[in-house]
Structure formats: C-alpha cells, structure tokens
Amino acid sequence: MTQDPEPIEKADDPAVTEIQRLELRLYVAGQTSRSLTAIDNLRKVCEENLKGRYTIEVIDLLLNPQLARGDQIVAIPTLVKKLPPPLRRIIGDLSNSERVLIGLDIRPDDSTGADHGS
C-alpha cells in the first residue's frame, strides 16, 4: 500500500524484529456494532497470543472505498494477514478466537515462543 492508512495501532514493544511481526489489516465499513466488535475481538486475540509481535491497521471502506479492490475485499469485516506469508483472510466479526488463530497460523498455546507460520 502506498497510501497512508487511517488509524495505525502499534504493538507495545518495537524491539521485536520485522520478520516475526504480523502485519494485520482489518477492513470494516463504518462504525457499526459489528465493526467495533471485530476490532475489539482482534485486539483481544492479539494481546493474548501475539503480544508485541503485530501491527493492526483498521481500514474503513466507507472512507476509502477504493481500497477494497486492492485487497480483494468482499465480505466485511475481513482481516487480512499479509505478512508473514501465506496471505490469509479471516472474515466475520472474529468472535470465534480459535478460528482467528487458525486463520493466522498461530497455535493458541503459543504465547511466548517463535512464530510457527510455515
């Protein structure tokens, strides 16, 4: 993405190497309850499982509709994990945290160690 994304939320610890860092992008459409739920759920899952190893970028398509095409967004909300590969999309309000972790290739019990993304 060449464009400056809207809100950027960085993880607490900037010392973590870039390779290990998960770049997450959450696409929502307006401040709907589902959008807010999704954002909350994502934060919760990341804090619990990926502390310090992720960035979250929330993109509101109502404000930037042109961005939907680039990341092939159809469903809302969609969480896109671009890095590390492979590319993954998780759709829905992310209320099922187990599925979110599966989608992100993270083992639920993995709270300290290395990234297991294959």
């Binding site: 759920n41 398509l61 109502l62 509709p65 095409r69 159809v74 809302i76 999309r89 979110v100």
Partner: protein, 587 residues
C-alpha cells in the same frame, strides 16, 4: 392519473405501467425481447459452462458503452484480467481502451476458498462498496456480474450469502441499474444455487447443444415479466463481431414485393422469363445434376448484377473462392475485378464446418454487414448433410424470409443427383418456398450429354415453356432453341446432324418443287399454245360465218335495190306512156 383499464397494468402496452427497455445492442436479442432488457432491473442469464454467458454479459456492457452512451461495470468473479481481455479481443472489443475512456470498469473479484477462514458473522458490504465505488466513478448505467455463484463456493455460510444477495439485488434496483447476472445451470433448477429465486424480472437461458458432433448455441427467453417476448429457442452465434441471435420463427409473409426486375446475366434467359429477368427480392432455385452448369449460371448472374453496380454476396459450400474464379474465367466470366471493387464478396465454408443454425447466423451477419442486393448460395444441397430434412427446410424458410424482408434477390443452386428419384421432386421441400425455379437438365443421347434449361415455375410472370439448350462458351452462357422435330427434342451433335439432314432434305424438296414448277410452266405454255390454236380455228370459223351472213345480206339488199330500180324505171315508163297525172297503174 387515468383509471387502469387493463387487469394488470404492467402488461398493458402503454401508459405508466409499461416496462422501459434497454437495448442490448446484441444482434437479434433486442428483436426477440421486443426492445431489450428491462431497464433498472436485473436479468439472469443462465446456462452450462462455455455456452456464452460471459460474452453475452460483456457485449451488453460494451454495446452500452459504445453505442448507447451507457457506461458499465463488469464484475468478474471467474476470469482473470488476462482471460477476460483475450475473450473480449476475440469479439473485437478493446476493454483497455474503454476503461481508459472511462466507459467501462472491470473489477476482478478473486475469492480463494483456501485463504479464507470464517470467524463470526459477516456481510457482503465490501462487495457493495466496491461495486458502488466503481459505478460512481464512471456514472455506470449497466452492470454485469459474472458469475455471482462463485460466492457460494468461496464463502462459507450460505444462509448469510442468500440474505446478502437478496439485499444486493434490491440495492441494484434502487440504484436504477440495468444488470445482467450470470449463473451456471444447476441439476435441479435453472441455476446451481437457485438465483432465479431472487431475480424474477427477466431470465434468459443459454444452451450449447451437440448433435451429430456439431454444436448449436441456443438462447431462450424463459421469462420476461411485464413484456411480451419470443419464447422459442433461438440459435445464436459467437464470432469475431460478437453475438448474433437469430429468431427461429420466420418473419412472416408481409414483406414488400417489387415489380422491378434483375437481369439474370443471360439475355436469352431474361427473354424466357418474359423479359427483364428475375423479380427483385425474389428467390430463385437453380437445380440440376452434377456439372449441369448451375454454378456458371449463378456466376453469370452475379457478374451481371455487379456490373449493374449491385453488391453481391456469394456463399460457396463446395469450392474455394479461387477455384470458382478460375473456373468461371474459363467460360469468360471474370469475377476478380468485381471482387477488387468490393461489389462481390465470397464466403466459402464447408457445410459441415458448422451447424445449420450457425450457417444461418453467419448468413444473417454477413448480409447485415455487407448489405448486398444479391445473395447466392451454391449449393444448398450440401447443407442437407448437416441437418435433417425438417431442419434444413426450417432454416431455408427463415433464410428466404430474411432475404425477402431485405429485398434481396437470392439465387440458390441445388444438386439433383442420381440419389434422388426425379429432378422435379428433388427439392420438393423447398420448391414451394422459391419464386422462380430453373431446371438444368441433362439431355443424353447418342453418346453425348448436353444441357437443357427450362423454367419450371416463375411466379408472377409470363415465362417461356420451352426447353432451351444451355451452352457454356468462351463468352459465357448462351441459350439455343432446341430442335423440335418428330423425334422429340434434339440437342448437341444430334441437333446438328439432324439439322444438316433436314437441310439436305429441304434442298431436295426445293429442287423437286422447282422442277415441278418448271414442268408446270411448260405445261401451261403447251396448253396456252393449244388454246391459241383453237382460238385461231374458232376465229377462222367465225370469220367464215360472218362472210356467209354478209354475202347473204348483200344478196338480199341487192335484189331489192334492183327491184326498186326496176320499179322506178317502170314508173317512168308508165308516166311517159299514159301522160295522165295521178293515175296509177297497178301491175
């Protein structure tokens, strides 16, 4: 507002309830839908794989953008940008240029099931936003979504999808967009996922049917709410200019008729047809055996028409155009310059290269493109190999109606061979369809084969009932009066021989007559001499008689005079003797 008189205001053909239609610009489709697709509504186009759904949707947009000033958005779920561009280019559409002009947006939606994990409730707002953004960016009036059902394969939770699709169609309708949605044909319904449930305004089904290894594309308007439509299956064609849909039903019999004539290119034949040639817009069948000169007659007709400045489209089903050119040159018909002037166009194809409907479709398209006044099909016989008798007849009926509606004079040749019992019945199927039927007949005798031509029928004109000998010379075609004698008609060498013999006999007869005449003259002279002699005799007799009578008369009057003289003399004597006046002496 006026009070509604019709039971269903939507069905009334006038007034506010009338459905407004958007012309698709696809050849023929607007005809069978009586104007196009319903404006502001969604039309479902369903069919099996490879039957032309995508191309139909694409052409709808391209025609809209280029011909009707209606920009469009194409949402491609199935194909990639490259695939779509290639497909479009095969129809002669330049999508990139249209996109650059802001007339078209192509949005490729890629949904990879393996990349997607569902974690909670979702909706399709992303698709709505994308579509909305694309529509607003060019002010689109038309949208095509190809193939929406990919969503069902790519996204979990069909319940959500169904609700969302319902919302999508409502949303598209609210925006006043004319939409085509394509869908795969399903096992139990029109579409695999029952899209017809949501789209009820207009449903078009496409099919690609194969019989005898030849495929025919068929289109059918299954449903068109609030509008009349042709509900028959209609063949259609996809070629380098797009789709051509061809109404199956014949166009009816209310076409204009002309009284002007088109020369056949053979003056003698024109004369046989009552002078002038074929009627303009009529259909002519030339049938005959192999090598009877059908193609030559057709070429001659084409040449004459082109020389008169008429455009002529020549379909050949047996030879290549070069072969025809060469063959016709051998009989003094040079067609090459006419091709250079673009008055004459050949279209050569094997009948088996395509189904009948494809041939018909191609004919339609080529005719629409070139707008000829003359169309020649040489020969139509081989088309029979492609279809059944019924389908051939049906196709020819439609083709002829099509030609007539355009006032095209059509000449078809037909091979009547040994396989067919009789020349006259060979094409009974189509004989009733044609206006003029010329028959080229083999006249075989004395180890020689010659060609005879006669006019089997010709509607609306006094035509000759004579068989003429049909000869191909270096200078083209000529017709010769056949020899009609006691032995029947004679042609070729037999005719020559017979004529020589007859000439000799005539000369003999003439000599005889002359001799007889001479004898007559002599006889007349002899008789006349006799008459003269008799006359002379008669005259002599008469002369004698006259003389006798004269003498007789002279004798009588002489004696009387003598008596008188004597009397006178005597009176003198008496008076002298008596001396007494007044006294008469009685003898």
């Amino acid at each position: 507002m006026s009070t509604p008189t019709a039971k269903d205001p939507v069905l009334s053909t006038s007034g506010p309830g009338r459905i407004e239609k958007v012309p698709t610009g696809i050849l023929g489709l607007d005809e069978i839908t009586f104007g196009g697709l319903p404006r502001g509504r969604t039309t479902l186009v369903c069919g099996g794989p490879g039957c032309g759904k995508t191309l139909l949707a694409l052409e709808f947009l391209v025609r809209g953008a280029t011909q009707y000033g209606e920009p469009g958005v194409f949402v491609a779920f199935e194909e990639t940008a490259g695939e779509l561009a290639t497909n479009a280019a095969s129809l002669g559409f330049d999508l990139a240029a249209l996109e650059a002009d802001g007339k078209l947006v192509v949005d490729f939606v890629r949904i990879e099931r393996s990349e997607i994990e569902e974690a909670g409730e979702y909706d399709l707002e992303g698709l709505f936003i994308r579509l909305g953004f694309a529509i607003d960016s060019i002010g689109a009036k038309r949208v095509a979504i190809d193939t929406l059902e990919i969503l069902f394969a790519g996204l979990p939770n069909p319940g959500i999808l169904r609700a969302e699709l319902r919302r999508l169609f409502r949303w598209l309708k609210e925006k006043g967009l004319t939409v085509i949605v394509t869908a795969e044909r399903g096992d139990h319904g029109l579409t695999r996922h029952g899209l017809e449930e949501y789209i009820s305004d207009c449903v078009i089904a496409l099919d690609n049917r194969v019989s005898d290894q030849i495929s025919t594309r068929l289109l059918r308007v299954l449903k068109y709410r609030g509008s009349a439509h042709d509900s028959d299956e209609v063949p259609f064609l996809i070629d380098d200019v797009g789709l051509s849909v061809l109404p199956v039903s014949s166009l009816g019999l209310d076409h204009q008729v002309a009284t002007s004539r088109v020369s056949t290119g053979v003056p003698d034949l024109d004369a046989m047809l009552g002078g002038g040639g074929f009627f303009r817009g009529s259909t002519v069948l030339v049938s005959g055996g192999a090598g009877s000169g059908k193609s030559s007659l057709a070429a001659s007709f084409a040449q004459r028409a082109c020389r008169d400045g008429k455009r002529c489209l020549f379909f050949i089903f047996e030879e290549s155009s070069n072969q025809v050119l060469r063959n016709m040159r051998s009989i003094g018909i040079d067609l090459a310059p006419l091709m250079e002037q673009d008055l004459l166009r050949f279209h050569a194809s094997r009948p088996s290269a395509a189904g009948l409907e494809m041939h018909l479709a191609r004919t339609h398209r080529l005719v629409s493109e070139f707008e000829p006044e003359i169309v020649i099909l040489d020969p139509i016989t081989n088309l029979v190999t492609v279809g059944t008798t019924n389908s051939v007849r049906s196709m020819l009926t439609r083709m002829i109606d099509f030609f007539k509606s355009r006032q095209i004079t059509a000449l078809m040749t037909s091979l009547a061979g040994a396989a067919l019992p009789s020349l006259e019945t060979s094409n009974a199927q189509i004989s009733s369809l044609v206006d003029t039927w010329l028959l080229l007949r083999e006249l075989e005798a004395d180890g020689e084969r010659n060609r005879g031509l006669y006019v089997l029928k010709s509607r609306g004109m006094a035509h000759s009932n004579q068989v003429r000998e049909f000869r191909l010379t270096d200078q083209g075609i000529e017709l010769i009066d056949v020899y009609l004698g006691t032995d029947g008609i004679l042609v070729g060498a037999a005719r020559e021989a017979r004529m020589i013999r007859d000439e000799a006999r005539a000369r003999e007869r003439e000599y005889e007559a002359q001799q007889r005449q001479r004898r007559m003259v002599q006889r007349r002279a002899a008789i006349r001499a006799q008459i003269d002699a008799l006359n002379a005799e008669l005259e002599a007799d008469e002369e004698d008689l006259r003389r006798v009578i004269e003498q007789e008369r002279l004798g009588e009057s002489g004696s009387a005079r003598d008596k008188a003289r004597m009397l006178n003399a005597r009176r003198v004597d008496l008076s002298l003797a008596d001396g007494n006046r007044g006294r008469t002496v009685q003898p």
